[in-house]
Symmetry: C2
Subunit: 581 residues, 2 copies
């Protein structure tokens, strides 16, 4: 490709609404163009990256035996009503009426449609297992689209759906995808982690996220420094502390803490470690009758150490709390604790409250908590002596760096990542409401067991950039680069030798199937190099009259501090050997 | 590919709503699946065809110097308001509101967005010409979607847009596309015609449709049997007849024609050729003031020969009629002609009417027309003698087979086609309202001259089938076939030799880059052959134990009446040579 035949459009400055580096660099490098909030055109330079991502994903999905189809962007509401998602999903589900006032949605994902296809097409156990996928435009009407294509409203996703005859077979299909995803992410050439994720109400351990590591990532990833354990923050278990609870050493005392309504403030005031304080979080669960009227409300007090954070996913797994809990209202808190939030604690309650202690809190002695009276905390609190043992003990908190790894090997560390893929065992979540069944050997209908497997195709380029950039711009791994090699001739318009050598190298590399760009725009060297460093092409060859006379041309990788001299006659084979390595 | 790893789903019967053969066969061959009215999923078998179409289009567009990008499916209304299409387009433009009640559309085409990109990115004459294209999902909310993917609501289109510095350059860009389209359609392996089309208000001759020839096509295509002339019916010119108008031979006579209100009925009654009658068509044009109130209405009488049809596009080009004409109301007709439609004619009008005669009518003598009195026609009518010469003479009619070709070479013939591509010079239709300008050499802003170029990617497979099918199913040209070759082993489960030979042939052809399908489903020969004849794979090799023993395998092209025996050891090279030819 020659630059004069392409559309290159670099900017000195990123627009002011570009908050993250990938968004800034994609705008500056002319990869994307904003059309509206969360809606972008992929410009020629960016689209080349998207196509490379698609090609890798498609090849590995096909290799893993998945079959590609294409389901529509605009889907009739009826399928979404069948599974209840028409009602359950909020305004992020883009709804639209056609000329006949019939309801449609712009698909954010395709479980309903693929399950409809499966229930029609997969009638016999002989046709299973089957994995169907498509690479298609999706839309999610995010309340606050941001970070460019990282959290846009319109995006392209690869979503695959597996159909199996039973849970064991479905888990085998899941493992095939887990392996294919590793192959895909290996080929991207990015640092990533496959981390265990919470699988929600379905249970089991069959949910993994594929996180591209980047300091700017939205997600906290937990991993062991001593083993292969990795999970996302929602999922990572905090083990129970070793050893028994220490014996009480202090007497309980009501201590004035005026205006100190947080654990940190109280610890500061009393000059004690934050880890000696206990945080009180008040939740509620409602019980409804057949008419949906609330007939009973249970209030819960969750206790976690002052330096720890509540993990709401884990809280939702406490028996009785489920995922339906809500935070209690101020009215409910005053009613049960006799005071407003800020000085709450488990001692001296007005009405029955179920108390759940984090594993860590359950083994603490001489701790500090609110006294249920404004301006006062209790110090030297001890279980059994000052209050009954908790109703339940559970893992309620986010892990922190330095915690023991749940597999017992090594300590946990935390880094940040960007979720690009998610694989998930679905069971009969969709096949049951949609009655997607097949006939088994005995001719009996059985519900299909499903799995789903997504990759954010248009999100990946942004994640790759968050991981690979410097002050000059993007640094693409070879596999994702819009062009792998750029040939930069200096003074091409003045020197026939330079022009001939540049075109020869371009043609040679192109004939070898390499994505090579010849910058024939006639830019000055500084501006030309800056453009390609911003765009992030990994391999550059500079062709100058002096170089040709000396018989030495300059090769430089985007990560190299300086250029390497290569004999002019060997530059093509040198570049090819660099690409092969 | 092995059939057991694919999704093959053939049907004995097409659904009752499939009216045309391509729709029936695509449903029966499991190429598409209906999700809702005019909304289809592309099943794996069909998607392979779509991908082949896309690949051919992409390669030739790139070869022609066009640059691919990807514009969004969901587009903010503001761009469509800028060009006025938000108001002008009817309910076929799918409108949608986001969670903030802002207006969006689901794109039916992308002139607005690409012009917005061009006005930002193409600032200098140095960046021109530029041709930008994308292959993207589109939506048109058709009142009556039908014929499967031929007239669906959601579809995939390739749309390209050229930007040039002046009209001459734009016309050169148009010619580059005209050439690329011929290369694309040649590669499809279909019979097609590039026909001149009407370019509407923009004028000039720069509009061509690419029509795939099929007896079932919706469009009438006119071509010369003696030259390369071809046009669509709207555009094809009817030449003025040779020679002068004959002298009058009959006297005018008012003749009773009770109940005979059509030319055909009158000719029958009077036992004269239909070609001696003249049809009267009454149009009207309204003149409005600044407030949009109609201040003046002009009534027009258009005369075409009784055996000819009015061409409304041509009528719209008569000076004064423009494209804004409407058919006159019954009230207006009674007011001007003194009678209701059925017996109208140009003689004895009550109020002034502008009379436009078709070229043919203007040269007729002794003709028949309505007498402006119910139940009566005039016979023996002659221009100049019985009524003044017409106010205007114009080409008003559709051509008919046997007319002289407008280029003077040969006679016209008519066949039917399916429009798959359309190329079009746009001029400043979009660049003017959107102020898309560039700076010329003297630094002066100039509006860009545009062209647009579409190909119906998902419509093409249907058109290919309309052209290529028989009672057994589809017959794909090699370039579009989902699989080029199918290997059909007989008794693969019983014979290790058959299995080994089938797999060897499959692997050999696949290694040569041929899209080969090995049917390892274990179907009986009859059902297996019927499936692949329905699906339309062009090349088939049957591998049987007997054939292996005899050393002769059966090759059959989908169009061959019977199989060809090929020495077993040469079957791979035989197939390859058939594909190369």
């Amino acid at each position: 490709m020659k630059a004069s035949q392409f559309l290159i459009s670099t900017l000195k400055e990123a627009p002011s609404d570009a908050e993250v580096v990938s968004h800034q660099l994609m705008m500056r490098a002319g990869m994307i163009k904003k059309l509206g909030a969360g809606i972008y055109s992929w410009m020629p330079m960016g689209l080349r990256v998207v196509r490379k991502v698609e090609a890798i994903v498609r090849e590995e999905m096909n290799r893993a035996g998945a079959v590609e189809l294409l389901m529509p962007v605009v889907q009739p509401a009826e399928f979404w009503q069948e599974t209840g998602r028409w009602d359950k999903m909020g305004p992020e589900l883009m709804r639209v009426k056609d000329r006949h006032e019939r309801d449609f949605i712009i698909q954010p994902t395709s479980e309903e449609v693929v399950t409809d296809i499966a229930r029609q097409e997969l009638r016999s156990y002989k046709q299973l297992p089957k994995n169907l996928y498509h690479i298609q435009t999706k839309f999610r009407d995010e309340r606050r689209p941001r970070f460019g294509v990282m959290r846009s409203r319109e995006f392209i996703m690869k979503d695959a759906y597996s159909f199996d005859r039973d849970e064991a077979a479905a888990k085998a299909s899941y493992q095939v995808m887990a392996k294919a995803y590793r192959a895909i992410f290996d080929r991207f050439g990015l640092r990533y982690r496959a981390v265990a994720a919470d699988s929600g109400a379905i249970g089991g351990d069959l949910s993994e996220e594929f996180q591209v590591i980047a300091a700017t990532g939205e997600d906290a990833i937990v991993y062991s420094e001593g083993s292969s354990y990795a999970a996302n923050m929602e999922k990572a278990e905090a083990l129970a502390p070793q050893g028994p609870r220490p014996a009480p050493a202090q007497a309980i005392a009501k201590t004035p803490t005026p205006g100190k309504s947080t654990c940190a403030d109280v610890a500061d005031l009393l000059k004690v470690p934050l880890a000696t304080t206990v945080k009180s979080l008040v939740l509620a669960t409602d019980q409804a009758n057949d008419k949906g009227e609330i007939v009973k409300t249970q209030v819960w007090l969750l206790l976690v150490r002052g330096d720890h954070d509540l993990n709401e996913i884990k809280a939702g797994k406490v028996p009785g709390l489920d995922a339906t809990f809500r935070f209690a209202t101020v009215g409910e808190i005053v009613d049960h604790f006799g005071t407003k939030p800020g000085y709450l604690g488990p001692i001296g309650l007005k009405k029955p409250v179920k108390i759940v202690a984090d594993r860590e809190v359950a083994l603490m002695a001489d701790w500090i908590c609110g006294a249920n009276e404004e301006g006062f905390h209790f110090t030297g609190v001890n279980w059994g002596r000052d209050l009954p043992e908790p109703d339940a003990v559970a893992d309620l908190r986010n892990v922190v760096a330095g915690d023991m790894s749940p597999d017992g090997s090594g300590l946990l560390a935390i880094e940040r990542g960007i979720e690009i893929g998610h694989i998930f065992f679905l069971g009969t979540k969709y096949s049951a409401p949609m009655k997607a069944s097949f006939l088994d050997e005995s001719g009996k209908p059985q519900l299909m067991q499903m799995g789903c497997y997504g990759i954010g195709i248009t999100r990946l380029p942004a994640a790759a950039i968050e991981q690979n950039n410097d002050e000059r711009g993007i640094i693409w791994p070879d596999a994702l680069a819009p062009f792998t090699v750029v040939v930069c001739p200096i003074g091409m318009d003045r020197s026939a030798d330079v022009k001939a050598a540049a075109e020869r190298l371009h043609d040679d590399l192109q004939a070898a199937g390499i994505d090579v760009m010849l910058d024939d725009r006639g830019e000055r060297p500084g501006a030309m190099f800056a453009d390609w460093e911003l765009i992030g092409v990994p391999h550059r060859v500079v062709i100058s009259d002096r170089g040709l006379k000396e018989g030495q041309l300059e090769y430089q990788h985007r990560r190299d501090a300086q250029a390497t001299k290569v004999p002019a006659g060997e530059v093509a084979s040198f570049v090819k050997s660099r690409l092969a390595s």
